[in-house]
């Protein structure tokens, strides 16, 4: 077994080790020195806004794109020097459906299986098995043109699992899916990891990373700007905020005192809208607050808990908004590769 890890010693547990990855398109640094370390058997989330460099990073790790600088190892194998070995260890579900539009679902899976060395009968069996598993059996023979986005995404994932790869890349696996389909995708991802795979997924949604990932890297303008568990990141972002609207504005001062007493925080009152806003560290406290308000005879018109948005994460971590134009950043770097 030792030979597997010969290129980089002492890395037995790392599924991915990337150091200083750089990719330049023209004079734009799409990825600008990304470091990532992903432990085998975990889900790792790469979180970032449009254009952050998520897809470019994944493509470099998946041997689809050659890094301009830096190094990356998949289970100890160099993605540049030993790409064919790396390809035997990974499954890739790209951001845009990487299946054949003009063929049917079963034809797609059979062709990928055959390419992976399965015999004709094995390939048919594997395809049928995966279609069953992903609830696509009924649509197996229809051309993909008539598939919904969710079906396409599932087929795409199924195609990545044919060889049961130990490492799976999922580039925005749930973007564009409805909540129910998204939840099923999440379940599938969790199941994969239970079966021993490692998953690296990219997402634009903090909630998704929070829900699935053991560790998260926040990436912005081609750099990792924060890394840690979901809790660590949230702590750095700050808590969510509670907003209350009172039916009768005469009660507002009373309500405010109740809020401050129960949540043990300072609150703000906006007189025009009649709203009370308070930071909230522990969501469980809301129950206590509601009971206290009812006991005090205060009737609510509206209650909402605002989660920190990705925008707020970015504002806090990077000091600029996620939606800002990111085009000016390339100048500050010393060298520009073409």
């Amino acid at each position: 077994m030792g030979h597997i890890y010969r290129t980089v010693p002492n890395n037995g547990d790392w599924a991915i080790e990337a150091h200083g990855l750089v990719k330049t398109f023209g004079d734009k640094r799409a990825v600008d020195g990304v470091n990532l370390n992903v432990r085998a058997g975990t889900i790792y989330g790469v979180l970032g806004p449009n254009g952050a460099g998520k897809t470019t990073t994944v493509r470099m790790l998946a041997t689809l794109l050659r890094p301009d600088a830096g190094s990356a190892y998949i289970f100890g194998y160099d993605v540049v020097k030993e790409p064919q070995i790396v390809r035997q260890l990974i499954g890739v579900t790209g951001q845009y459906a990487s299946v054949d539009e003009s063929l049917s679902a079963i034809e797609n899976l059979v062709i990928f299986s055959r390419l992976l060395g399965l015999s004709r009968t094995e390939a048919r069996r594997k395809a049928a098995e995966l279609l069953e598993e992903f609830g696509l059996t009924e649509a197996a023979k229809r051309p993909l043109k008539n598939f919904s986005g969710g079906m396409r995404r599932r087929l795409d994932l199924a195609a990545s699992l044919i060889a049961q790869p130990p490492l799976i890349f999922l580039d925005e696996p749930t973007t564009g899916l409805d909540p129910r389909t998204r939840n099923r995708m999440w379940d599938t991802i969790r199941r994969l990891v239970k079966q021993g795979s490692t998953v690296l997924l990219t997402t634009q949604y903090l909630q998704e990373a929070d829900e699935l990932a053991d560790r998260i890297a926040v990436i912005d303008r081609g750099r990792v700007v924060a890394e840690g568990t979901a809790d660590e990141l949230k702590a750095s972002v700050g808590s969510s905020s509670l907003q209350l609207k009172i039916q009768n504005t005469k009660d507002i001062e009373n309500a405010r005192q109740t809020v401050e007493r129960v949540l043990k925080v300072r609150s703000n009152v906006s007189l025009e809208t009649g709203k009370i806003t308070a930071p909230m560290a522990d969501a469980d406290r809301v129950t206590d607050l509601l009971i206290a308000l009812r006991e005090a005879g205060i009737h609510l018109a509206e209650l909402s808990v605002q989660k920190p948005t990705l925008d707020e994460v970015f504002l806090t971590i990077t000091g600029h908004s996620a939606k800002e134009d990111t085009s000016e950043t390339s100048d500050e770097m010393g060298e520009v590769r073409v």
């Binding site: 790209g94 063929l103 021993g196």
Partner: protein
């Protein structure tokens, strides 16, 4: 869990190179994919079915009287000419379709699989030989309907057909190369037409080279298309395998030897 994951990685036979056998198997699978695609969208066969029919009719009746005195005497000259022109013209489509195909997401998956790097290209080119076969058969059938009975006999007609298909396959690597370097499918079409149009017309396909001005004769004689056409005429009209046959095959092999590696390399680089 970590140990299971390591286990998944370890229990595999890992190799960083692909064997020749695997390259052939992968290419055949990719060719199978190409055939499935043709079956799903048969309308892409319009050009290879209509062009042989229309060109054969048109050119035979336009030039027949002027060049050979009558249509019947012209057929042994024009049928090999049209055959080569049509089938090689069809190979342009290979480059165009390759470009379209490569822009699709599915090519990313092919690149991420541990398969021979040449397979997606070789397979696509292999599947296109079905197009050449259709064009070849239709041209001969049209000739037959118009009264052409090749002196060489059926055996030599079959050899000629295979010969033309092999040459076209080799030449399609040039268009595949255009396909991988070009940005858009329509530019592939444009460049390829620009190259192929003079080559097919400034040849001995339609008229005897003797009737051309000297400088044009010089070009028409060295033109590889002329050699292929002469080889086909030798085969089906006289039942002989001549020097032109050998030259054409050597040329075809040279094209593949040059263009296949650089096409694959560019294809990999433009990932």
């Amino acid at each position: 869990m970590k140990s299971t994951s390591k286990q998944l990685a370890v229990n595999r036979q890992l190799k960083n190179n692909t064997s020749f056998g695997q390259a052939v198997r992968n290419s055949l699978t990719m060719a199978y994919r190409g055939l499935l695609k043709i079956r799903r969208t048969p309308e892409q066969l319009f050009d290879v079915t209509l062009q042989p029919i229309i060109f054969t009719l048109m050119f035979t009746y336009i030039f027949g009287g002027a060049i050979s005195g009558n249509v019947h005497n012209y057929l042994p000259i024009i049928i090999p000419g049209i055959l080569v022109q049509t089938v090689i013209g069809t190979s342009i489509v290979t480059g165009v379709q390759l470009r379209e195909d490569m822009d699709k997401g599915v090519f990313d998956r092919f690149k991420s699989l541990p398969i021979a790097r040449i397979a997606p290209l070789a397979g696509a080119l292999l599947a296109d030989t079905i197009r050449y076969t259709i064009a070849t058969v239709l041209t001969f059938v049209m000739g037959y309907i118009m009264g052409y009975r090749p002196e060489g006999g059926l055996g030599y007609v079959v050899i000629a057909a295979v010969f033309v298909i092999v040459c076209s396959w080799a030449i399609s690597w040039i268009f595949a190369f255009f396909g991988v370097i070009a940005r858009t499918a329509s530019s592939v079409q444009g460049i390829s037409m620009l190259v192929l149009f003079p080559l097919t017309f400034l040849s001995n396909a339609f008229v005897p080279v003797k009737t051309m001005p000297d400088w044009l004769q010089w070009f028409a004689k060295i033109n590889p298309i002329s050699h292929i056409i002469t080889a086909v005429r030798d085969l089906i009209n006289d039942g002989t395998i001549g020097w032109d046959f050998a030259v054409s095959l050597i040329g075809a092999a040279a094209i593949v030897a040059i263009f296949a590696p650089i096409t694959v390399r560019v294809y990999m680089r433009r990932a």
